[in-house]
Structure formats: C-alpha cells, structure tokens
Amino acid sequence: MNKRKVTFTVNGERHELVVEPNELLLNVLREKLGLTGTKYACGKGQCGACTVLVNGESFLSCLTLAVAVDGAEIRTIEGVAEPDGTLDPIQEAFLDSSAIQCGFCTPGMVLMGRELLNRNPRATEEEIREQIKGNLCRCTGYFSIVRAIKSCCEK
C-alpha cells in the first residue's frame, strides 16, 4: 500500500498526517486525533452514529477513506460548541427537550440538525424528519429530537 500524507482541518485546527489508504476517517478521528465523540456503531452506513461534517456536508465517516478527504474542512461533535465551552443553541435545545437518553446517537443527530439549520434556518417538521431519517435512535422515539431541532428553527 502506498502511504500518503494528508492535510485537513478538524474543528478549525490543521492536521498533517500520514495514513494508509485503507484507514477510515472514523478511526483516524477517534484513534489518531483522540476525538471519540464520533461513534462507531453499525459500520455499514446504516445508523448515522459516525456522522461528521465534511466541508459543511454530512458524511458517514465509517465509509469514508481518510485519504479521500485530503484538504477538507471537517467538523465533529467536539467542534460544535464554542472553544470556551459555550454550547451551540442546538445542543442547548437537545438538553432542554430531553432529546438525549443514552447519548450514543446524539453526536450524529446534533450534526444533522446543524447541517440542516445552516442550509435552511426555517426548516419544517417534515424537512427535519427527512434530514434525520438515516440516524437511528433506540431510546427517545425521535419526538424529542425533532422537537429540539424544531425549537432552533426560525418561525
């Protein structure tokens, strides 16, 4: 295998790494950068727990080769709050709406909400449900998650 040097920005910080072609973005984030907020669950792109934003678009990091995001700007759940720890409004909304139980789907859900609101601050409930249709949650029954995202939408 031909190792490659890749450069990308993660949560505003620039990283230069040498990776093997078969390394997945998920594992590079978790194991090389210590960002364990991004979760491994199904590993098949079915559950959405590994979702990160690549150049502002939601990607499944368990199906993304690290070499393929060379030059990209990546945002993980660790980069959603302000550097001083102030939570993003959507994170506050998840707390207020009790949209978190075990928490395993939460990083993916928050990032999906963030992506939607960045693109469409006036999203309807239907659009919210479409946005998170590929993110599985086994605890909440989704109602509280939809409510949390909805509460961040402009009226």
């Binding site: 093997e20 072609p21 997945l24 594992n27 792109g45 678009e57 499944l60 199906l63 479409e130 590929g134």
Partner: protein, 294 residues
C-alpha cells in the same frame, strides 16, 4: 466474522485529476483496479469481502465529471453528487429522478454518493435506474480506445455487473428531452424511510386528451437488472386510457417481473406489489402530464 470497524483489505490508492489519467491508471493496474466515487456501496462491499481490489482510483478530484446542463435533454456528469441532481430535478421536467433520489438512502448518502456510482454498482434496486430508463438515458463510457455511448438498458448485464470494461470509466448520463404533454413519476416500496427498495417503478408518458401517445415503464428490485416492461408499454401506447386498461396492464407487470425471495420480501409479495405500484405511478404521471400535482 466480518469486522465493520476497520477495512482490513490492503490496496494502492490514486486520486487523479483528469479522465485521461484515470484511464491510464486503470490500464496500468489491470483487473484489480476499481474506480471509487462516493464509496457508499464499494466500501461496504469491501468490508463484507465481496470485493477486494488491489488498487482504488478515486474520481472525485477529476475535473469535468461534475455538471448538470440542458443540452438536447439533460446531461449529467457521472461524478455529480446525488444531492446536486436531486436539487436540480426538484419541480423540473425530470421530477421522477428527484423522487427516486429522495427515496434513496439518506442525506449523508446524497452528499457522498454519485449518480454514476449508483449505476455502475448495478444493484437491481438502484433507485436512479428506473427513472433514467424511462427517460431513455444513454451513458457515455471512456476507455483506452476512445469513447462509446449506449442506452442504459443495454448497460446492465446482471446483479452488480455491467458492460463496463475494467479499463473504462462512465463519464456522462444523457437524458432525452421530455417534450410537451409529458408526465413522469417514481414510487418505491420499502420497509422504512432509508431502506433499500422491495419494489420500485417509474413511468414516463405523453398524452393528448385521453389518449396516451407514448409510454415507458421501468421497475427496479424485481429482476436481476432494473427492467423496462415493453409489453405493457405497447399495450398502452396509442390507446385511450381507461381504468380497465391500466388494471389489465398492471396484471401484465405482475407476470413480467422476475423477483426473488430475500431478506426484504418474498417473490410473491413483490409480484403483487409491483402491480399496485405500477398503477399508482401510472396515474400520477398521467395527471402530471396535464399539469396535475398528484
């Protein structure tokens, strides 16, 4: 047991910037080379060890493979992301393609996956295939001996197999212009929102008053390849449309499909649902042909 956390396979990786370089790399690395675009299908197949390429050629940095333009119909670069195609086709004359991509996977897959990837992976359930078949799409392939263009219906040869040579790359998908008085629609049946189709169907038609002057019908997930149902098209074309004719046509759809039993459905179920799905899609397209929404 299959480990989905890591990719155990080893391979070389290239990210060329021109179509010429892609073809050269494919030629140099021979049968073991695979083109990778979004990777949502390929990486899964590699994790499941259904595929073990010795070399991956990423085409996402290739210039001139991502575009959508109107030019004697619609021309779409093969590496155009599903999200861009979906956005373009919304409320367009190609709304069946919008409906198909909306039902395909989830937003993450629209961001990663490409229209060419959906076709080249050649799943019998590829959701973009039925609408593209009814739009009489042609695909352009480039290889070491130049380029060739063929109808999409001649592209698929079986489950996950196509006429694409190991040294060829799909570069463009070209849809026919729909023309006046045309309507089209797509519908799929799946267990939950982000699941793979049990049955999918697209219809394109043209009408003059109560007469259907042109009709094309395609179904997915009910045969080894996405299929046109030409017997039904011939039955409908040139005829005045009545409930009874469409009901009869839907029975023929049921007889023509060749579904299998699998984890998602039984063949018997697929046969019955194919008929109903066809009927619903036909009426939707029929209404749209005179400007109706449903």
């Amino acid at each position: 047991m299959i480990n989905t956390r890591i990719l155990t396979q080893e391979f070389d990786y290239f990210a060329p910037e021109s179509i010429k370089q892609v073809v050269e790399l494919l030629e140099r690395h021979g049968e073991g080379a695979r083109v990778i675009a979004g990777g949502t299908d390929l990486i899964n197949q590699m994790k499941e060890e259904k595929m073990s390429p010795s070399c991956l050629v990423n085409i996402m940095n290739v210039k001139g493979l991502r575009y959508i333009k109107e030019d004697e119909g619609l021309r779409i670069g093969a590496a155009t992301k599903l999200r861009d195609v979906r956005a373009y086709c919304f409320k367009s004359r190609y709304v069946a393609l919008y409906e198909a991509i909306s039902s395909l996977g989830k937003p993450q897959v629209w961001n990663m996956g490409t229209i060419g990837g959906n076709l080249c992976n050649a799943s019998p359930a590829a959701d973009t295939a039925p609408p593209l078949l009814v739009f009489k799409a042609r695909v352009k392939l480039v290889g070491k001996d130049g380029e060739r263009e063929l109808l999409l219906e001649d592209f698929f040869t079986g489950v996950n197999s196509t006429v694409l040579q190991p040294t060829e790359l799909m570069v463009e998908i070209h849809l026919d212009p729909p023309g006046d008085g045309a309507g089209n629609a797509f519908l799929k049946v799946a267990r939950v929102g982000a699941d793979i189709s049990k049955v999918s169907c697209a219809v394109f038609l043209k009408r003059q008053g109560r007469t259907c002057t042109e009709c094309r019908v395609a179904l997915g997930a009910v045969a080894p390849v996405p299929m046109r149902v030409k017997v039904v098209e011939e039955m409908i074309e040139g005829r005045e449309i009545e409930e009874s004719l469409v009901a009869k046509a839907s029975e023929i759809v049921s007889e023509e499909v060749k579904p299998i039993d699998d984890i998602r459905s039984s063949a018997e179920y697929r046969r019955q649902v194919a008929a109903v799905t066809f009927r619903d899609v036909f009426w939707k397209a029929w209404d749209r042909a005179i400007g109706g929404k449903n």
